[in-house]
């Protein structure tokens, strides 16, 4: 597990990338990213476009923990799915505009993350993964049992998409995408801000050499807990948007396979690259959609195969490899 974490692109490389990239190059990248985000529902079936955006934010949130803190969570479904249920319940029972419901879901995910994080950040490596997995599974069983509240195996049906009475958004997936996109972009901006903050710098130091950071006076567990809660909050934003987009919450959102899927997307895109997860998410969601619509039911085998191939051939993931090649091209 730790060998996966260390396979991420080094921060020196990121620094080199930042230092090497001229401001205009960064602006071009940003512009391309925004154009893709804005144009996506023109090329992809709008509900699928929304899925890609939500999973992309989820993967970015996981990379915050995996890539910048070296902590591999195998229970992030708890925050994605937990927020999905909370968002759904708020939307159903309070009838508030969906962005408020999503915000409520994200806050719920963060509250949930405090005790889970408190107990798990004391561990590292495989043990951290196991503790997070255990908590997520616990939540899965609770949601399954509390069927009067969650609908149990039938899922939480009839999540409304209330948006200030603007009917186009409430009924049409194409317009809904544009109403929900700002939430996703806000989440991505937050992740970028966190990584490039004094806090983010300390995270890198802790990941490189935790005892040294402690000797300098940093309370390592406190930093890990905070990044855990922040990552959960961003995962919650993503899960909430996903729930509203689908109009219902299915039990598998809390299942460990969901946790596994987001790890797969992040690793595929490139650990410690932040934006790699966006590419990983886009690839996996579109592949799954293509396979499902062509009636193929071995999705897991294909995505797993893609995953193994990419990880074996490009240790740094897609984004990480691209960046590496770009930097080396400039050097030679």
């Amino acid at each position: 597990m730790t060998s996966i974490a260390t396979a991420g692109a080094s921060v020196t490389e990121q620094h080199a990338a930042i230092a090497g990239a001229r401001p205009w190059q960064r602006l071009v990248l940003l512009a391309v990213g925004l154009l893709v985000a804005l144009g996506l529902p023109w090329f992809v079936y709008p509900p699928v476009a929304m899925d890609i955006a939500a999973w992309a934010l989820f993967a970015v949130a996981l990379d915050l923990l995996l890539g910048y803190c070296g902590l591999l969570s195998f229970g992030h479904a708890a925050f994605w799915g937990g927020s999905a249920y909370a968002t759904g319940l708020i939307a159903i029972h309070l009838g508030v505009p969906f962005p408020l419901a999503v915000l409520g879901g994200a806050v719920f995910a963060m509250i949930l993350a405090v005790p889970i994080g408190y107990l798990s950040v004391k561990r590292s490596g495989i043990y951290f993964a196991m503790v997070t997995l255990a908590f997520a599974q616990m939540l899965f069983f609770i949601a399954n049992q509390a069927s009067s509240l969650t609908g149990g195996e039938n899922g939480l049906q009839g999540v409304p998409r209330s948006f200030f009475g603007i009917e186009a958004v409430e009924t049409d997936a194409f317009f809904f995408y544009y109403a929900a996109l700002p939430i996703i972009l806000l989440g991505m901006w937050a992740a970028w801000r966190i990584v490039h903050s004094p806090f983010g710098r300390v995270l890198v130091a802790i990941r490189d050499n935790a005892p040294r950071a402690r000797a300098l006076g940093y309370d390592v567990e406190r930093y890990k807990l905070i990044v855990f809660v922040l990552s959960a909050g961003l995962s919650g934003l993503a899960g909430g948007v996903f729930a509203v987009s689908h109009g219902f919450v299915a039990l598998p959102e809390l299942h460990w396979t969901t946790s596994g899927e987001v790890v797969l997307m992040t690793v595929l895109g490139g650990i410690g690259t932040l934006w790699g997860g966006v590419i990983g998410a886009g690839l996996i969601v579109m592949l799954a959609d293509y396979l499902a619509s062509s009636g193929f039911d071995g999705i897991g085998i294909v995505t797993g195969g893609v995953f193994v191939t990419v990880v074996l051939l490009f240790r740094r993931g897609i984004w990480g490899t691209a960046r590496h090649l770009w930097l080396n091209r400039k050097r030679s």
């Binding site: 020196t12 903050s197 050499n209 040294r212 000797a215 300098l216 940093y218 905070i226």
Partner: protein, 257 residues
Amino acid sequence: MTSTTPTPRCALRTEGLTKDFRGFRAVSSVDLEVAEGTVHALVGPNGAGKTTLFNLLTGFLKPTSGRIMVFGDDVTGMAPERITHRGVARSFQITSLFENLTPREHVEIALQGLTNQGLRFWRSEKLLGRRRDEVDRLLAEVGLTELADKPTGLMAYGQKRALELALVLAVEPKLLLLDEPTAGMGIEDVDRTIELVRRIAEGRTVVFVDHNMHVVGQLADRVTVLQQGSVLAEGPYDEVRADPRVITAYLGEAHSA
């Protein structure tokens, strides 16, 4: 550099400090007293327990028994970061740096270690650059001005040792624990480091480990000799040096080497 102040306060005191590793006693009821403002050397053959003692003093290891007092307060069992907050900074025998940060970023991180500013996840990392003058001064102090923005991973061993010292200084400690600050250095770097330690010892208390008797003689007010975890001798350098037990146990061996 002898301390002649009347009844100097204790910067560091241990009582019966003991550490067992699965039945093996690495540190054995050590009573240590270091007066404030002095430079104290800890010497002894390989495996004597010097680094283990440092790890106990800085909270990286929990003692099996005994007590540790820093500036009069009991810090036994305290977490490393909390001991740092009490004005204790240490360097590591095996160079311990952040591979992905430049020397400048190292010092920036070290400077904010005692504040809560590292928690500001909502601010720009440019904030870290605000104390540029202090960073430049510290890097100049250890002779790393030129390398400030180069990758740390590519630096030479002696330069890494220098950065290690800059990190300790950035914490503005009252008590410094230096584990073999000159290990593996060439003669020029050793002399530079002696000068540096002498300068930073002004108004501070320093405990250091070194195998180089030249360094010990130049810097130390007092010397404690450890052997197999126990204190073999303690006193001013010249006295300890002349102690026949020490000569047989350690100095003689080192001199003949």
